[in-house]
Assembly symmetry: C2
């Protein structure tokens, strides 16, 4: 049975949480008195469905069930976890917790608060130990950070359960050692926000110039290394101590106006809002959200390729889910399955689309490669085998384009072995979208001793598995289109 | 003749500037009394050669000539621009400028200073108008931001020339409206640095936790949108004014400790350095640099795919250099060149490598697609043609792998037309590394009415150009390997 979370407050943040839970297979009950809540959450869901699966290299679980409720009590029924994302008013939060704990006394409550400490949130509760901070960053369905901050009233088991739930939905829970207002991330955002408002007010720079100063420079560094690791590198061969010695004295220089706070009045709001309109007003908020999401998917994919930072979080989330999948694939191979083997499941990603609006042709071959790599892993010729000096190299490939795959399509690679001996195999991969075969890829792969650079027989265990599949597939009819040359008459 | 820049000070920053100028085809004369300068710059160059060309989709210009000089006077001879990156000591900078202006009176001097205003730098100079701030961010060869900040002594022509030079080497010059210490970027870095040191000192978080708080969350946002555009989106449908109303009051809350400055003593330095060692000490600085550069290339590539932010700067830099290239390609097509047409020049990028250490198979097809797309552009069937409803679709492909392309290889796609009529053409692309043909790709492409979804004759002008190439190529011998099916005996 699916696990269930309750979402109290369905704005940008609450909607983002709902999307993350649902797409990770949890059922979600929502309470939000706003009559627009259902529409708003459905819009966040549409964004999230287009973006979050694009980060996964294993099939997503079946989407959970989303329900809307008229009372907090109904929403929290059967939930093991609540994410509270109501407005930043402490009395309102206390009222919500009282209703939650009355309806479901043992439920764990995480708050999206930007600034209140857990001990503030817990005041007056009959079960303060079950209330904790789990502070996310927008868009919640893409950014992995969740700042988990408890008070001394939270026993370790509650912190651990919160961490487990965050990981289950693919987040990076950062447990904060001591309670402070605004935790870590918002402290920095607040510092930069103050300095930025001064610059606007003093006419030093516009909103657009400030954004450019960030995204053309240190913003790119921070997305992958943060502050200290970046400076460690900047210190060069002499390292962090050298950097500190160089940069430390500047702490005393009067660079910053942070000692003072600009007056927050209508004039300041107008200045910011008007400059922001000039900068970004040509895009609707929905357009900006989609642009942002595609950029973030691009960053996160780049980091995942390199198993670094937030990309490492994605890889680990995949690995947790891949174990069951690989066991399934291996079973198919071991059984001598007399049918083509579905060895790849994925989704057509934004970067895969060409200017015709279809999946670009090289990505068909990419899907085939992934299919073949999974097959090789299943017969014992994966990374370790390659590391030990042997590999299957593709010698020749023939592709037929029969139909088109489009952005967001669920795509599948099915492997059929046409013939095999100890030194080579001929394969035929069907690339499927549902029941439609959009392309076929026929290949000849040679088993190579990489160091010697020549074709040699495969390891006996690998060959035994390959042979078993080849025998099981020997009874399948030769696929239509196999053995064709380009442009050959039918 | 190549343009020439002088680089005074060859550390991490000066070396980064040198690399950017050299890789963009400028000659560079370096002065740095450090006996290690030549080694240090050669290491920065090795990093830059592996990273910067990976951002370009047009061939890089011939690398400029790097020379080292024993005096400032020799280094600046024949230079039209100087980038000064010596230590942050104002007397030293003044001394350097005096020597530069004596040896080359009219030369434009940009300073990499992190904090001094142009008017500080100009003091005592006989030609203050030629001294300006051009403040970069590390790694200079990848991050596009250059903060250009002049004083009232700098005439507009000097600012414009600085902007032109920055653009010529692919940077994003941000002209600052008024002089302030530390310009824009470092103001923010200073604010965050102070807050971060407080957190370390107070034991709230370690260097690693702070870096994670940044790179798992808002750091990813900032690399593509910056501060204000991010908040505009966060405001949701109600936009910037709503966001300001929500977040504004927090300005008065005591979240930050920025009002005060932590004492900079040995204890603080030890705390930071020891935590940094625990966090990143398993990597050498060189390893961290390469990791950082690959991540940045990934981010910048993702942005370039979407023509956004720093990726837009890269695209525009390409376009400036592509005009001449495209004119050349078009000439080749127009001339009815009786030889295969080199329609693609590129470099094997880090993300293109498979676990065998070779270019992954789908990237061979990618290089072929790029070759074919450029060819189609040259015969008048580019983006505009597709937007008007017609396109060439690949029906069938045959690939032979003959040799291997490796990371960093310069790679070329040569197009030969085997046959053509008004509705289709058969092409043969050789993928070349130097004189070695690493793969061949034979394809059948059909001319399609995209809306009707059927094959139709091409536009007469397109067909005329295609036919001319087909006729010119008719005399070429049929390539070895054309017409093969997979696994066919020779």
């Amino acid at each position: 049975m699916a696990r269930k979370a309750a979402i109290i407050g369905g704005g940008v943040i609450g909607g983002g949480w709902a999307a993350r839970f649902l797409l990770n297979g949890w059922d979600v009950g929502v309470f939000d008195p706003d009559p627009q809540a259902e529409r708003k959450i459905s819009e966040v869901m549409a964004n999230a469905r287009a973006a979050l699966p694009a980060l996964s290299d294993v099939p997503m679980p079946k989407e959970g069930k989303l329900t809307f409720h008229g009372t907090i009590g109904e929403a929290v029924e059967g939930a093991e976890y609540v994410q509270e994302s109501v407005s930043e008013r402490i009395e309102l939060k206390h009222k919500v917790y009282a209703q939650l704990q009355q309806a479901n006394p043992g439920v764990l409550i995480g708050s999206s608060t930007s600034g209140f400490k857990a001990s503030d949130l817990q005041k007056g509760s009959p079960a303060p130990q079950n209330i904790i901070v789990a502070h996310p960053f927008n868009p919640v369905y893409l950014l992995p950070l969740s700042e988990v901050s408890g008070s001394p009233a939270n026993p370790p088991a509650v912190v651990e359960k919160t961490v487990e739930i965050m990981k289950a939905i693919g987040m990076f829970p950062l447990v904060i050692r001591h309670e402070i207002d605004a935790f870590i991330g918002n402290r920095f955002l607040e510092a930069v926000w103050r300095e930025a408002l001064w610059m606007l007010k003093d006419g030093i720079a516009t909103t657009e110039e400030i954004d450019d100063a960030i995204r053309m420079g240190f913003g790119l560094r921070w997305g992958q290394m943060g502050l200290f690791e970046t400076y460690r590198v900047a210190g060069g061969e002499a390292g962090m101590r050298h950097f500190m010695a160089q940069f430390g004295p500047a702490l005393k220089w009067p660079w910053t106006k942070l000692m003072d706070v600009p007056e927050f009045n209508d004039e300041l709001v107008d200045l910011v809002a008007n400059q922001s309109d000039a900068q970004s007003g040509m895009y609707s908020i929905r357009e900006l959200e989609r642009i942002r999401d595609r950029n973030l998917v691009g960053f996160l994919r780049a980091l995942k390729d390199r198993n670094w930072g937030a990309g490492k979080v994605l890889k680990e989330h995949d690995e947790r889910r891949a174990a069951a999948l690989h066991a399934d694939l291996a079973k198919g191979v071991d059984a001598g399955n007399a049918a083509p083997l579905a060895m790849y499941h994925g989704q057509v990603l934004p970067g895969w689309i060409d200017y015709n609006g279809h999946m670009t042709e090289s990505r068909y071959l990419f899907v085939c490669s992934e299919t073949c790599d999974n097959f090789l892993r299943m017969i014992g010729a994966g990374m370790d085998y390659v590391a030990a000096g042997h590999s299957f190299y593709t010698a020749e490939t023939h592709i037929r384009h029969l139909d088109e795959a489009k952005l967001g399509d669920q795509i599948r690679g099915e492997m059929q072995i046409l013939s095999a001996d100890e030194k080579r195999f001929r394969s035929f991969v069907r690339i499927m979208v549902g029941d439609t075969c959009v392309a076929t890829v026929e290949q000849l792969c040679l088993h190579v001793d990489m160091k010697a650079g020549k074709t040699v027989p495969a390891d006996p265990q690998v060959w035994a598995k390959l042979e078993a599949v080849a025998k099981a597939h020997a009874g399948l009819p030769m696929p239509e289109g196999a053995g064709r040359a380009v442009g050959q008459k039918k």
